[in-house]
Symmetry: C2
Subunit: 595 residues, 2 copies
Amino acid sequence: MNVQQAAHAFIGAFVDELARAGVRHVCLCPGSRSTPLALLCADHPDLRVWMHIDERSAAFFALGLAKATGEPVALAGTSGTAVVNFMPAVVEAYFSRVPLIVLTADRPRELRDVGANQTIDQVRLYGTHVKWFVDMPLPEASAPLVAYARMAAARAAATVKASPAGPVHLNFPLREPLVPLPGPAVDWPVHPQIVAGTRTLASRQVEELARQWRRVERGLFVCGPETPAAAAGDIAVLADKLGWPMLADPLSGLRAPGSAGVVDAYDVFLRDETVAAALTPELVVRFGAAPVSKALLQALQRWAGVPQVVVDEGGGWRDPVLTAGKLLHVDPGWLCRAVLEALQVLGAPEDGRGAGPAGRERANSPHWRELWRRLNDEVRRVLREAAVQQEGLFEGRVFQELAELLPDGAALFVGNSMPVRDMDAFFPAIQRRVRVFGNRGASGIDGVVSSALGVSAAWSGPVVLVLGDLSFYHDLNGLLAAKLHGLPCTIVVVNNDGGGIFSFLPQAEVPRHFERLFGTPHGLDFEPVVRMYGGRFTRVRDWAAFRQAVQEGVAGRGLYVVEVPSDRARNVAQHRDVFARAQAAAREVLASCTS
Amino acid sequence: MNVQQAAHAFIGAFVDELARAGVRHVCLCPGSRSTPLALLCADHPDLRVWMHIDERSAAFFALGLAKATGEPVALAGTSGTAVVNFMPAVVEAYFSRVPLIVLTADRPRELRDVGANQTIDQVRLYGTHVKWFVDMPLPEASAPLVAYARMAAARAAATVKASPAGPVHLNFPLREPLVPLPGPAVDWPVHPQIVAGTRTLASRQVEELARQWRRVERGLFVCGPETPAAAAGDIAVLADKLGWPMLADPLSGLRAPGSAGVVDAYDVFLRDETVAAALTPELVVRFGAAPVSKALLQALQRWAGVPQVVVDEGGGWRDPVLTAGKLLHVDPGWLCRAVLEALQVLGAPEDGRGAGPAGRERANSPHWRELWRRLNDEVRRVLREAAVQQEGLFEGRVFQELAELLPDGAALFVGNSMPVRDMDAFFPAIQRRVRVFGNRGASGIDGVVSSALGVSAAWSGPVVLVLGDLSFYHDLNGLLAAKLHGLPCTIVVVNNDGGGIFSFLPQAEVPRHFERLFGTPHGLDFEPVVRMYGGRFTRVRDWAAFRQAVQEGVAGRGLYVVEVPSDRARNVAQHRDVFARAQAAAREVLASCTS
């Protein structure tokens, strides 16, 4: 059989096995070398192909799709720098544990490293940022090679999902002529299913944990970004049972309907050293990645003398503050259910402390969880009030408004670096089901527009993205996906004409060069480019206009960019004012509770 | 001394030594971790800082600057995916041998691989695509460490220029607080100068080459992209002396004032198999990278039985067609001068053949070089005529027009993938000094706008960029540099609403999916986005308008985008017609010469 028939049999089997393994979406970029991959994906009835022109945007779009579906998404491109452009999203996928199958086309071996056009070194191109790399064999229409292709596809799909989830890279050497042609049937009947077990503990280990934890009154659950969605319910139930507050990162998926013990304003009141000291726990149990809140991370360091446990089914080391004395490499949902069962068997501890919130109020001092609740409620109230009292369009208020505007079933994508911090402070736990997404694996400001549109591609409800102007500019190209694929998205651009976060950092106190090196104003009016991509654009002047625009956006079927103009200097002053008032309120609550 | 003083001494010494080693330009992107690098570069009186927001564009801008100046350019960014975005340009720099010093900021060791924010694995981030990687030590204000910093900078600047030139990567772990502060003076008095020798041959080896070459009548010089500019004159003189034609790639720098033996239409007439066969040489000597022309590469393969020599001072393997029987790893300028000298000593060969074009006409057959000249002149004439006769805005004619429009001292940047091929066919050798640039290391369509603006940043004459609409879309972000830094550039966008090159490939014969997977029309009207970046835009309807627009552009001081609308299907038909006529003319010349 000739080269074209070999490509048809081999790549065809690979693509078919991807589909059998559950892959439904393929993001493709145009290219010649990748022709067999492109044509055979497009031919497959179970695969939906999403075309993109800019590979960087394509990869972030695939990332968003995979985040939204939780399922492996394929991303394919041609040879050369084209697929180097995939790398920012590959790195993000690696650190945020997203199942991305990256397929690159390459020259055959005999054209590598001999000066051939568009030929780079694609072997281990993404370095340590993929879980698995395969330099595939040349296509061949033989049973052993077709078997190998099916194995590789099945394994890729399983590997990206295996905990910790993450990207894999398969590099396909392909010879000309590149158009695949069907030949005599060659196939292989095995479609390997990979069954991944769940990491669990022995009963003895669980019992020991249960015995320890039931004796702890001042316990804390901390749920960071990427807390597994499947575990959220179990974590909340266990937190309730133990009577411990649950600090929920905005990206934890837990600022949502569920436990009454959710704390959502800790980022603000833990900034206060008196408050953080008074809240020193006896034990901290952490889930998910390191929290966004710097105040919480600093509090964890302040509490370094307290036993801290990190639960990570992926076996990573999600502890940049180096305070974890115990790492549980075990499925968090399973763990919570198992501990709960063990607690029920054990009953109440002998000294009357431990499991269950009832009957543990000390004289003049509210119960531990009640103290957090009072602090949280009061701080949240003052924050809300203070935010509303700020003149003009205070950036923090964007999230406060969205918390009221977003309908049930919405997805909220939040950009780095200021928006996610503002969300942490100003977006409370709400009763509607709003799924929150962000790129916190590597926390880049790149690719955010594309990631959100990737979510939109797989989301049935409205999708709202909030990001800063630098981040919006960085991925303007991503807007093409909205135009080409008719994807609805409401994009709130908080435009303070530059890098807002730097005004909060010590760099702001170095006036020489500050504006040029850190402020980086660009003076762009985004309206024309939004229109170029077929979107609507509005620059709001007040909150009534903001609310109306967002409501129109979420009700609409297209791209709607809502710009919230801001001023970096004023924004810092407003944040400081709001936080100072909230922290004063926290100290008052503390004083009244301990007096 | 504290962290801030250590950073000041250590990074300050590094930056100062970069400047001493000849670095003049630093492309910077905003970030927090990179603060010491940013502030100390901005403070240095001998460095010019160019701010960019999108790291991908920043890196291509730096690449263009380094191409234009031929000197090392520094590129610095913060940690995480930010610096992953540098990679497409780093890969291009590696393969096109451009001296780029990439500086990345990183977390200190104790924050790596422990889940810290914005922390990825930056060790050997660019893999095999840099010549040198250093994971720098933490800053320290001690003489040994300051000495190390000066060594690293001097060595980086020398390494990027050492043949083969290319990028290096230095990764700087930096601790908070990040603002550098001057402390007690700590310095080191050594400023190492690296003197790189030139690769030469022994006299005996040169004499042997001279003896061989003087006996060859039907010799050919082939000058590919990146033929060293310093060698161009010597190559041309030797070609004259030997009486050999010199096939000059559009990116060779040799389609310019110089040798009378320049052949510039070979891409068209070598497509014809009869012509290619009739032109079989006795010996081929190649300089630079593999030529853009597929027809020439195929001819080299057809001529595989003929001795072929590749000259590469960089010691690479620039021979994808695998026809080189001898590789000379020697400085091409030196080689040509040495062979010329040896030829003068040797005088004319005994059999009357060899050096010098005089007196070698055979009966009824023009001398070898004269045959190439006649073919070239006639094919060029027919091409010109046929291009002019095409209806509407024929894409190939863009370069024919530019060859007449570009003033002396202009720079012409040519995009991939159709423009460079059109240039190969339609841009003749001209008598004005026009320097041609392109990204042919990896031949990506990414980053072309930024690369051209990087050239503009260092170019005193007008800069014209020609690229396709996909390539323009891919790097629209690059236009911000024109706005922020007031860089003049005339950008000719050949807009056929999609990937024009695919219509020439076999994929075009697969009607199912063709338009969606390969044509990829986007329907974008670029006018609004050009205006957003403060540029002028015009869509020309005829060649008079084109000429006027380009003339305005090159006379102006700003960004001017001149769109040439085209149609992919018509474009293919027009190319085929033009080439068919030119090839027929070539066959006629051949028949008349050999009859």
